[in-house]
Amino acid sequence: MSIHIGYSQNLVRYELTITDTIVNFSGKAKRAIAVNGQIPMPTLTFTEGDIAEIVVHNRLKEGTSLHWHGLFLPNKEDGVPFLTQMPIEPNTFHTYRFPIIQNGTHWYHSHSGLQEQLGMYGSLILKKKESDPTFRKGIDDLPAVPLILSEWTDIKPDNVHRMLHNASDWLAIKKGTTQSYSEAIKAGHFKTKLGNEGKRMLAMDVSDVFYDKFLINGKNESQLSQFKGGDKIRLQVSNGGASSYFWLTYAGGKMIVVANDGNDVQPLEVDRLIIGVSETYDVVVTIPTENTAYEFLATPEDRTKSASIYLGNGPIQLKSRMPKLKYFEGMKMMNGMMNMDGSMDDMGMEMSLQKMDMNTVMYPEVTGNIETKVNKKMDNMKMDDKMDHSTHSMTSTQDLVTLNYAMLKAPHPTTLPKDVPVRELRFELTGNMNRYVWSMDNKVLSETDKILIKKGENVRIVLHNNSMMRHPMHLHGHDFRVLNGQGEFAPLKNVLDIMPMETDVIEFNANVEGDWFFHCHILYHMMAGMNRVFSYESQAPNPYLPDKKWAYKKLQLESNRLHLMAENDFASNGNDGMVMFQNSRWSFGTEWRLGYNDQDGYETESHIGRYIGKNQWFMPYVGFDWRYRKTNGISEKNLFEQVSTKDNRAVISLGAEYTLPMLVTLQGEVFTDGKVRFQFMREDIPISSRLRWAFMVNTDKEYMTRFKYIVTRNLGISTHYDSDMGFGIGATLNY
């Protein structure tokens, strides 16, 4: 479908038609988005010096856009809806047109909502001219294969996003990473788990989303049989995954890294490398033997599954799979690093540039495998033998060369213009795991204005990650230098992966005016507000975006939407449930307990609250309570000797909620009728992978305890005892 016509010598034109489609990656038919009928989107190829003209036809029922990731282009062609253009409306088309002024491996994707997760990603290859003085013989003339990595989930991305905000643990259950108390005890880590909850942390993982399949060029497994023994191949790898980092390994030996984010680097031989979300790496691999195909393996950081492509012909030489992570070791380390006030302590280690991966404590291939069960079954002699071998392979893995940013070195000096003003900016990357709020300096995009910079000046940015997860920070329209100790040969990148507690410094020359997005490229973090906009002072108006003020408000709203959460327990003694709308700061919720008769009573509580502080442990609120219960004149006294009949009560209240260690919420409330109530509650204590325990006790002498077994994403079986309604058993539906 893509038409490739040269109107003049160097105009290269593509027609892209975006449509809804049905795919089946996992055994279930699901909605996805295809471009020219395919996933990934077609590979677009240009040569430096060409003029690109890309016509996008939107046949979806929603607006869309395409962003050219890593490209230098006029701001209006950058493809960010409500920042550089209006969304391409359904059944309309839009033409992007810009000169190609660089070379390298890049990619393109939708910048609208979560469309990227549904299939809107593709390779974008800008070829170097052979006459280019930087043309590297033996590298730039090798056969090249673009590979785009991605993931697929059967759950709708919008729903994934909502579940993350609601701290749903369904995704963890699917991954087998609940890290419950019983699992902790089994692993001998009960204290670790206790310490973790003591510091008010929920179990965490290196990544959050459960994926059904991982893909290379849209396939879980594929083969390039055109290659033979002795061939050298340049793999142009882009990570088009929405939230997955991938480990890249090769069964045929070491890989030579020759470029990163579309910029050449001095060749580096490595055993493995991790490619951050939205990064690109060019690696050269060799097929070492005749008549054998070698596996190039992409393993997501959580190591749940993998995707492979086989290079060559004949029997396939596999690469060993990366062993499962030791989560409780990670938890233990996290406990050590976490202060009681929710900030992180790097213990005086000056961490930067991926040099020290704290996750290493979770890697069995490095720390040795604890599972020696297999060995125990064997007799002594065999056991000795086995031990010998395992120590042997352990020592060899210690010498594995893993790429980090400090190793990257540009082939030519990359220094910025001298004698221009320097603007220094600092950002602290912040986050709240429990409520899935991701921010910079504890502010989401909707709480900040654009950051003004001047054309011509050098912008130096110091980034410090004080959140618990790594973030691939991406700058639109510019490459920045990563100050990594290589002096004037500092590598150029447009995505910087920054691990927890790291501090990195980047700098760039502000040389193209416009409004440029600077954000975390993990799609769900971006949509949770981890964004900023760099705006050039006194820039020319953008013809595609007449009302920029209004558009910025729209952009801010995009990443601070309200999320619905609802639950109802249909139990033998009544209905018990809640519905809640929340965004990064506000919470609007109603809870109810409805009996089946007047004696059991009916009661609802509604709260409108605002989360305060970085950790969001504190939420003051106003509330409205209504209850009716036929008590036949019997009145009750609370702990403060205040008497109430629960008969018929409608009051407004003022209260606050605070999360205590062990994730117990303390709620204090004063009602308009003078009554006071304090309440302790903890929900979702993970007993086992799927079993949850909850309890509540308050000064009205009410109490409740409940067990819930999670059956599916939306269904649980629960049993509870409630001081008002007695013992009940039922089914819990949740959304």
């Binding site: 002795g230 033997t289 008549n291 054998t292 396939i316 280690m349 720390t367 064997m378």
Partner: protein, 283 residues
């Protein structure tokens, strides 16, 4: 009521018949060669190939032939053979990763078909460079001036063993270090080095002995902290021909010496291999 039960039974019987037919319709059985040796291999191969309700494998250790039966709608021969190869057993379509093969019990290490190396430009060049490095190694052995260099060498091999978290080797190395310490002829040391040596000799002996006495790496590391400190004091005075890096691990609040600048932490080993920083370069 009775009627209902009859109808239900009839439906149940009907359904199970349908299910049986469906199952036989999709089940495929094939014979395929898988390399292996013994009864242990048989268990491993069959376990790796098995998948609940999808695939079963029956391997004959004499013929090396496996009979695999699988539901062709749910899985494939390729998938089964891939799983088996990932457990360490080659077939004609998939080869096991070398590191997995090497962890098989010795009785299971069947003979593998050797792959024919492809000839590339690099392979020729590599041969040449290997020759080179041999020469370099020979040149190095000639220079050994400093009397204490044996002691320092002894220290570095202990450190390397601790980096690998190997208690047994650490202990053996400590014994050699102790011997080297005892062999030092104090009177032949330069004056300032002599003074430093005298000052720390007893502590050196004691810590080295403590390391050699146990195979418990954690205990060894405790003694190693003190040993490192004292070696540093001596090395600062005596100097060596090559630069030595004095490194620090904030998590343990402890130092160590290394000949390479890259951090390889002896207090954590692989668990936090790269934790630490160089605080002084002694030249």
């Amino acid at each position: 009521m009775n009627n209902n039960i009859k109808i239900l039974t009839a439906i149940a019987v009907f359904l199970s018949v349908v299910a049986c037919i469906a199952q036989t319709k999709n089940t495929k059985t094939e014979s395929v060669k898988i390399y292996g040796n013994c009864e242990m291999c048989k268990n491993a191969i069959e376990k790796a190939g098995y998948s609940k309700k999808e695939a079963t494998v029956n391997w004959d250790k004499n013929t090396k032939e496996a009979t695999i039966s699988y539901d062709s709608l749910k899985t494939s021969k390729k998938e089964i053979l891939k799983r088996i190869a990932l457990a360490g057993y080659d077939s004609d379509s998939f080869l096991a990763p070398d590191d997995t093969y090497s962890t098989l019990a010795s009785c299971c290490q069947y003979e593998r078909v050797e792959k024919k190396a492809a000839i590339t430009e690099e392979s020729k060049m590599e041969m040449a460079s290997i020759e080179h490095s041999k020469h370099d190694a020979m040149a190095e052995t000639k220079q050994e001036v400093n009397q204490l260099s044996k002691v320092f060498e002894g220290y570095f091999v202990i450190k390397d063993a601790l980096v690998k978290t190997d208690g047994a080797i650490t202990s053996t190395n400590a014994k050699s270090l102790l011997k080297a310490i005892n062999e030092v002829q104090m009177d032949k040391l330069p004056m300032d080095v002599h003074m430093a040596w005298m000052k720390f000799l007893n502590a050196l002996k004691k810590d080295t002995e403590n390391i050699s006495k146990t195979q418990d790496v954690e205990k060894q590391r405790e003694s190693f902290k003190l040993l490192s400190k004292n070696i540093y004091e001596i090395l600062k005075v005596s100097k060596t021909s090559e630069p030595v890096f004095y490194q620090y691990c904030p998590m343990q609040d402890a130092n160590w010496l290394s000949k390479e600048e890259t951090i390889k932490n002896p207090y954590y080993g692989s668990q936090m291999l790269s934790c630490g920083k160089t605080i002084e370069t002694i030249k």
